[in-house]
Amino acid sequence: MNNSNSFFRDDRKSLFIATAMAIILVGVAPYFLDAYLVNVLIRAFLYAAVALTVDILWGYTGILTFGQSAFFGIGAYSAGLIFTHMGFSTANAIVAIAVGVGVAVAVAGIVGSLAFYHGASNLYGSVVTLVLPIIVTQIIFSGGNFTGSSSGLSAFQSFDFSMELWFWISGLFLILLTFSTWIFVRSDAGSVLVAIRENESRCEYLGINVSYVKICLLMSSAVIAAIAGYAFASAQMVVAPEYAGFVFGTELLTWVALGGRGTLIGPVIGTLGIDVSTSYLSGNLPFVWKLILGIIFVLVIVAMPRGMAPLFMRRSRRAQGDLMDKKNPVRIDRVASTVFEDSKVNAIELRGVRKHFGSLKVLEDITLNVRPGELVSLVGPNGAGKTTLIRCISDGNERSSGSVLINGHDIGNRPPYECVAFGIGRKFQMANTFEALTVVESLRIARTRLHRPSFADRAEFLELPDAAAKVIVATGLDKELDTETRNLSHGQKQALELAMVLALEPSVLLLDEPTAGLTSLERNVIGQILTELATVHRLCVVLVEHDLDFVRQISSRVIVLHQGKIVLDGTVEQVVESELVRTIYSGGAQSIGGHS
């Protein structure tokens, strides 16, 4: 059983070896290096720790942050201020770290809830992280003698540690931090970060509270940056507003970008390399060195967006995936799909739902009940409002008025991830997947709502409900489990998204053209699966479909939308024979009644 994930174990083994070697290196280095370099490296280690948090936020999760310097500054100033004004003692040192971390967490919580509210654009998040260091530096400036204003604080008493000891402390801090973040980003929980970077809205519709994840991440990053700042101030016995400033925050980004975002090791090496070489070269080539760095930085961003790391890494992530594939394919663990009880409550209940953009009315007064076990097809010409209706059912912020009840729960203004908790599963019209994740990883993201993912490990099995597993097998995706989604065909992406939605085990399934791009064979299998889900498992399935043959085969009920109104609601036969539908579809009427 254990060997089923032996590649991951191998990977772990080399990680342990690398970590042990790094610790030995840091252990002996002070005996071989001169005092100046030791001193420079202490600073570089702490900067690299902050750069690591920038990599987690930006490289992995896609949050471009200018603000990590502010947390570094908060940690540094809590040491500087307390040691300057209250004197140094062990008790004060503990108070200072507690205050530093506490303030950093509180600030990160506030900033995070401001920057990452549901529906915030990525740019807005960056704007807020840009404002943060400006506020922090202005507060320091306005502190007068208390904060030392623009000249900062220096020559306060601090720990009576030798340079070597600080070197070991900061070096070990960086190594352990790199070690644990490495484990974390490769765990199942870590792939959620990449999923957020790749496709935030898909995450929301898989029941993941993206804002919450981002806020937690920012708070943890703030803790690490504050500790690094605290150690910096204690070791160097100097603090200045620049360390909390926007320029330093941007410098951190440049180091991460040069080293290689999303690689962890790249940013660490990048920061160490640049900071050390800067401290030697800026003396000899004062402005030229900074100019060279600027030119390299621009070249890297334009020509090598992955940074320098891929040049030096022998095995790319891609290659690892292939290795894993050959050695031991991930096993799919089929579990029976949930059978929902036939309750008295309607699965979907819409009361007077309207949607308008300005004066343009897209949906007018839609009132509708759908029972569990029904397979309803929504048909109508383009622009009839079908997709808008699906959107209004799955996101509380979409409709202009009226109410939506899912399994008896009023969705109010709830965001999609809360609607998912009521039982919604939605497949988008365009294949909506995570390009950089493999098929297995994507499916696992879909299971995070039901199974809390591990922060340290990868599960050995992929648990999938029967229906999702059938879709995977029918479309050949079971042979592509370790393929990155970006390399799949359009039809396979469609199928993968459908499988992801089914893996959520929803009781209300909303499918916007689920079979577009599939072969007719695959379409038949999916038709059977959907029929079985509705009849046996008592799911409520709502389908937007243009292929009217498919609609005739599987639907238990057809609703015709036209210009934002329900014009017909009945059985397949009733709709096929309706004169009204023929007029609406005019040319299309042949295809709906063509075979009768």
């Binding site: 471009l64 401001l114 509210y117 915030a120 654009s121 990525n122 740019l123 807005y124 960056s126 704007v127 807020v128 840009l130 404002v131 400006i134 506020i135 202005q138 400036f141 306005s142 926007f246 320029v247 941007t250 980004l253 440049t254 970008a257 402005f287 030229v288 900074k290 100019l291 760095l293 600027g294 030119i295 930085f297 621009v298 961003i301 334009v302 020509a303 967006p305």
Partner: protein, 277 residues
């Protein structure tokens, strides 16, 4: 009375500084973090122009031309490959700002240099005596706003630019050379930044980092303004006014962060900011 003039002239200065950033953001959806660098370029153009004894108009024209030239080069070689990566464009243009700043430092040294103002002294207005140069900047802001509105509303290029703003794919399909529109937009934005640098030089002084403090405020103003020159004017008046009031009645240091904080809060409550749509 004098505080009202302070508000008006501060808003005008902010408008002049932010206009170049806004046209680039509006058309290209790219935030030009080299904006500060272009302001500095304008400052040093003024320094050189004044030293070799050019008249005021030639100095301004030279600043505009220098900015335009650098804009052309940078758009072609750095910004164009980053169209599809707007967040990377922020970083790359920030790097360009560093390069501009360092080149200027190497050529001119890092010292602060003072350029004499072409117009000094005060004039009587509404019973108070007020810096003439600041009043002239209000006129300059009006001229820039008028010029841009005419350019966008009355010329063929303006029409094509508006088409690119609304729907670039469609515009391209209709035969509009959107690369050219982008090239000209970026260069014009850089030229306006450089012109702004020239205009603010007499108020402060010239040093290699003179543009950076302006960058954040300009950026925040553009964020709350959308793509309209009118809403930028309103944003400059409201937020610039708030800055003047906070600096005067509370604390100049708090005044320094007023625009950034208010803009961030405003975007939270109303993501469109001052824009109507």
């Amino acid at each position: 009375m004098s505080i009202l003039l302070d508000i008006l002239t501060t808003a005008a200065i902010l408008y002049v500084v932010a206009a170049g950033l806004m046209i680039i953001f509006g058309v290209m959806k790219i935030i030009n973090f080299a904006h500060g660098g272009f302001l500095t370029v304008g400052g040093y153009s003024t320094l050189i122009g004044t030293m070799i004894g050019l008249n005021v108009w030639s100095v301004l024209l030279m600043a505009f031309g220098t900015g335009f030239f650098f804009g052309l080069l940078i758009e072609r070689f750095v910004v164009r490959p980053l169209y599809s990566r707007p967040l990377d464009a922020i970083l790359a243009t920030w790097g360009l700002g560093i390069i501009l700043g360092q080149v200027i430092t190497i050529v001119f040294g890092r010292e602060v240099q003072v350029v004499p103002s072409p117009i000094s002294g005060a004039s009587e207005l509404f019973g108070v005596s007020y810096s003439q140069y600041r009043l002239i900047l209000v006129i300059a802001a009006l001229i820039i706003a008028g010029g841009l509105t005419l350019l966008l509303g009355k010329t063929r290029l303006g029409l094509e630019t508006r088409a690119v703003i609304m729907n670039e794919t469609l515009a391209r399909a209709l035969g509009i050379n959107s690369s050219l529109v982008r090239l000209i937009t970026f260069s014009l934005g850089a030229a306006l930044a450089s012109l702004a640098g020239a205009l603010i030089t007499p108020l402060s002084s010239v040093d290699p980092n003179m543009g950076v403090p302006w960058l954040i405020n300009a950026f925040m103003l553009v964020m709350v303004s959308g793509v309209s020159f009118m809403s930028l004017a309103i944003a400059c008046l409201v937020l610039g006014g708030a800055q003047v009031l906070v600096s005067t009645y509370a604390n100049p240091v708090l005044g320094g962060m007023t625009i950034a904080v208010l803009a961030a809060l405003m975007l939270r409550l109303r993501p469109k900011g001052f824009a109507r749509e």
